[in-house]
């Protein structure tokens, strides 16, 4: 597996959220070699849970570029996970690459790739790769839900960053004084108080 950062779906989702869900950000999620189909479903579900809206899967296999472009723009502001790119050869990647302007949209795009698919992208699609930059992440832990340890770690990060305890967050939410930023929503959910969102 390539030497890219390993991150679970919710952290990749946090990156997309920081960029803005209307930023047109492009990223690559590198799928695990074992049980990639199961990992894809988990990954899509976790991203959807993170954003609280469905994540649309678009399979590129057998789709002409014009059709793919139409799919990405109907609508153009949701989060799209593009699959089916792993068997693309030079001609397929070049066709996508040449049409980068037509594929650009407001919502984020995540390419779901194997190591082989990533090699094709980096070799034959310099314009797409330029949009992605270093935003290539190995999907950690099969992209599954957070473990208890990950949950605790995240709660500690939030506490340190906002210098606020979990009790304080709940108290503020109950009094309607909690900011509405996504991080506070995530915090409440992690505390088991999604009812206060």
């Amino acid at each position: 597996m390539p030497d890219f950062i390993a991150e679970p779906a919710f952290e990749i989702g946090r990156r997309l959220e920081m960029r803005g869900l209307d930023s047109g950000a492009w990223s690559v999620a590198l799928k695990p070699a074992q049980d990639p189909d199961g990992a894809l479903e988990d990954f899509a579900m976790d991203l959807a849970a993170k954003f609280d809206v469905p994540v649309r899967q678009v399979c590129a296999t057998g789709r002409p570029v014009g059709q793919l472009r139409a799919d990405l723009h109907a609508p153009d502001d949701d989060t799209v996970l593009i699959t089916g790119l792993d068997r693309f050869d030079l001609d397929h990647w070049r066709a996508l690459d040449i049409n980068r302007s037509g594929l650009a949209r407001r919502g984020p795009i995540v390419l779901w790739l194997s190591a082989e698919g990533l090699t094709g992208l980096c070799r034959w699609a310099p314009n797409l790769k330029s949009f992605i930059g270093g935003s290539m992440f190995v999907v950690a832990g099969h992209g599954g839900m957070m473990t208890a340890e990950e949950r605790q770690q995240r709660l500690e990060q939030l506490t340190a960053h906002y210098r606020m305890s979990g009790e304080e967050v709940i108290r503020r939410a109950e009094s309607g004084a909690l900011p509405t930023e996504p991080q506070f929503v995530e915090w409440l959910v992690l505390l088991g108080r999604g009812d206060l969102v």
């Binding site: 990156r15 014009g66 270093g134």
Partner: protein, 416 residues
């Protein structure tokens, strides 16, 4: 941090005041002034991926609009059609469509006599047909027909321009529906000389109508740089560009970096001027432009001076990489729960970027990169070297100064 968006549309970045206009010695003014003064001139803008070509073209458009001497038309062909199947005639189709739209949007049609306005609307439809195709009825004679006195006249769908006295209709036959493909519809067919002649007249109608207002037309063609190889670029543009020159339409076009080197050089010789956006200097004592880009986007508020230097250096002067590195370092710091962005966060972002450049390379490419890194040897004319330039693994600072992308260089494997 949202200002640090390396994929934001260039027009949005300009309108939001996030663009440093003097970055490339006000290249956009040089481009625009030549187009303004010399109708029919043809200039290419060449630069690597992520170097800011679209921004320069849009700034040129804005400058020309402010001068009020021309009607500048910015057209990104790749945003409108499947460029991978593009063929000759497509540039003229995209240009004509935009010209007609801009003409009426600018209100030029309002002051025209009614007849002329209606005529131009009809001309606009012809341009649409050329771009997107049309359906027509074609008369097909029936060769097996045996005349019979009792035969009744056939019940046919007649085309609008049907003339019963026309000799071709004297024989038995029938009309069939025939689809004429457009130049922007997939799969587009190459424009034949007669297609080009057919579109010339409608275009001239609009250009004359614009010129009667003492305005010249400037076509600003973006997206053609995606046609990475010089032969593909030339195959698509040469016929269309010749027509634009004959019609005294000035052209500013983005072109692939490969037209500067090797077999691409003869292509660039067809143009009045080729402007090269060289990669910006990234050394600590010569990176003020890069810092100004970060500053314009709030990067210097997020990053300490040492980390700004690291980001500038690791970007190699590639603008899109610069912005992405600053953003990615910020994200990594935030996800790690850090109060501030540290050198380690910039290093993580740099490593990610370097890995992305490393992926897809093989032993032959490693030899080229190692020779450049160690011996400063680089044969810019060889196809393998040009591929390194096009994919930004190698950056060009001048005609003789080539270097391995600094994020990639430390990751090149050592020879066995």
């Amino acid at each position: 941090m949202r200002k640090l968006n390396p994929t934001a549309p260039a027009r949005t970045a300009i309108e939001s005041g996030l663009v440093v206009e003097g970055l490339h010695s006000s290249l956009y003014r040089t481009l625009a002034a030549r187009a303004d003064l010399d109708p029919g001139s043809q200039q290419l803008l060449v630069g690597g991926v992520g170097s800011g070509k679209t921004t320069e073209l849009l700034l040129a458009e804005k400058w020309l609009q402010e001068q009020r001497q021309t009607l500048p038309l910015y057209i990104d062909i790749s945003a409108e059609t499947d460029l991978s199947g593009l063929n000759s005639g497509a540039v003229l189709a995209g240009f004509g469509r935009k010209l007609a739209e801009a003409f009426f949007e600018a209100g030029f049609g309002e002051s025209l006599p009614f007849r002329q306005k209606i005529r131009l609307k009809g001309v606009q439809q012809k341009i649409r047909d050329f771009a997107f195709g049309r359906t027509e009825l074609v008369f097909v004679p029936d060769d097996d027909f045996v005349p019979d006195d009792d035969d009744a006249p056939p019940d046919l769908d007649y085309p609008p321009d049907f003339d019963s006295d026309d000799a071709q209709y004297s024989r038995p036959g029938s009309f069939v529906t025939h689809r004429v493909p457009g130049k922007l519809n997939p799969p587009p067919f190459p424009a034949l000389q007669r297609d080009i002649e057919a579109i010339r007249e409608p275009l001239v109608s609009f250009i004359c109508a614009v010129q009667s207002r003492s305005l010249d037309v400037v076509a600003i063609l973006d997206g053609l740089d995606r046609l990475i190889t010089p032969d593909k670029f030339w195959e698509i543009v040469h016929q269309d560009f010749r027509v634009l020159r004959e019609m005294r339409v000035a052209v500013l076009a983005a072109a692939p970096l490969s037209v500067l080197y090797g077999t691409g050089r003869p292509v660039s010789e067809h143009f009045d001027r080729v402007h090269h956006i060289a990669t910006l200097r990234a050394e600590p004592d010569d990176n003020s432009y890069l810092k100004s880009v970060l500053s314009h986007r709030g990067g210097t508020d997020l990053l300490e001076p040492d980390e700004v230097e690291l980001v500038c250096s690791a970007s190699g002067g590639v603008l899109r990489d610069l912005i992405a590195l600053a953003r990615d370092a910020g994200e990594t710091a935030y996800i790690g729960g850090s109060e501030r962005i540290l050198s380690a966060h910039v290093e993580t972002a740099t490593r990610q970027l370097g890995e992305s450049y490393l992926r897809g390379l093989g032993p032959a490419q490693f030899v080229i990169l190692r020779r450049l890194a160690k011996e400063r040897f680089f044969d810019a004319g060889s196809p393998a070297s040009i591929e390194m330039l096009v994919t930004r693994r190698v950056l060009e600072y001048s005609a003789t100064d080539f270097r391995v992308h600094p994020a990639l260089e430390p990751l090149i494997p050592k020879p066995d």
